[in-house]
């Protein structure tokens, strides 16, 4: 006997009551319960939905449900790191590796003018990076990061971990730029060779890390949307 939509909604509420509040875990459990009830209900057609629920609860006890969510949370960080590695590897294609090496070489070749502010030496690169990042996020990524944030209807465990990781990376990138652009407010000139070479080495890596991070963010956001289409509005 096939369950009706309101009966399936009841199962979603039951999962929430048992502490499974995230949609990405709920859908799997609700599908499991539904399948269990549908198959067992056929064997006892005289039973009603609530009888079947009671039987299902006995067959799949609360403590097992709690175990599932605890374990899922534990593995999710690992899973997300795995996705990140996978996507970052797909970002570094041969032309992009060549471009990154070229970028490092160009930064080393830039003549250092002690009279010029640090920011002025690299401002064009930072500007290109910002434009390219905007192109990646808004044009190629179809603004998926903001869309997912605005259109998400249910809590998603995977998404929450991604947002948390995103905040950490965003803050670290922002801190870097804040230091770098501080020369707008303070005179930031140097002749210290050690500092010059540190900046020349750090900056290309920071640029590559920012671009690759946004590339990965777009990819993972698209993947989450693809996996859980019903968790978002306008689908």
């Amino acid at each position: 006997m096939k369950l009706r939509q309101e009966q399936i909604n009841y199962l979603f509420s039951y999962c929430s009551e048992q502490g499974i509040i995230h949609y990405d875990v709920q859908i799997e459990m609700v599908d499991h319960f539904t399948e269990w009830i549908e198959l067992n209900w056929e064997k006892q057609p005289d039973a009603n939905f609530m009888n079947m629920i009671e039987q299902a609860k006995k067959a799949i006890p609360d403590n097992e449900l709690k175990d599932i969510i605890t374990q899922k949370e534990k593995f999710l960080k690992k899973e997300l790191t795995g996705h990140y590695h996978q996507e970052i590897l797909s970002f570094f294609t041969v032309p992009k590796i060549a471009l990154s090496v070229l970028l490092v070489a160009i930064f080393y070749a830039i003549p250092w003018d002690p009279e010029k502010d640090i920011t002025q030496h690299f401002s064009i690169f930072i500007l290109i990076t910002n434009f390219y990042t905007l192109y990646l996020v808004l044009w190629r990524g179809k603004n998926i990061i903001v869309k997912n944030k605005d259109e998400k209807m249910f809590p998603l465990l995977q998404y929450e971990k991604l947002i948390w990781l995103g905040k950490v990376v965003f803050i670290s990138h922002s801190c870097f730029f804040l230091i770098f652009y501080s020369s707008f407010f303070f005179d930031f000139k140097t002749t210290n060779q050690y500092l010059i070479y540190t900046i020349k080495t750090m900056l290309p890596f920071m640029i590559i890390s920012i671009v690759s991070w946004y590339y990965v963010q777009v990819k993972i956001n698209k993947k989450i949307r693809e996996l859980y289409p019903t968790a978002f509005a306008n689908n």
């Binding site: 009706r4 859908i27 799997e28 599908d31 449900l65 599932i68 374990q71 593995f75």
Partner: protein
Amino acid sequence: MNKSSLYKGCLEPILMQLLQKHGRMYGYEMTQKVKEITKGELHITEGALYPLLHRLEAEGLLEVETENIGNRLRKYYSLTKNGKKQTTVAIEEMKNFMTTLQIILHPKTI
């Protein structure tokens, strides 16, 4: 010792073998298939199945796709390229383990 405890360590190769044979499967289907193959001898509990599937997914051995099946979504699991390689290794390890058990249980027959 009950049967479940005996089977516990073998669950991973069992599931991987199932997925290798059937391509993609969802959680409940796996429990039913195992029950059917073993003629009810092995019952996989939800508390053992899902954490294992989630771990294998996190390790990159399984991949997930969701499908709308009318009034709900269903999560299907299938082996990744790495998962297929790992299945062969896991099955081989299980065979070795079974041989070792045979040696212990029937020392003279081996």
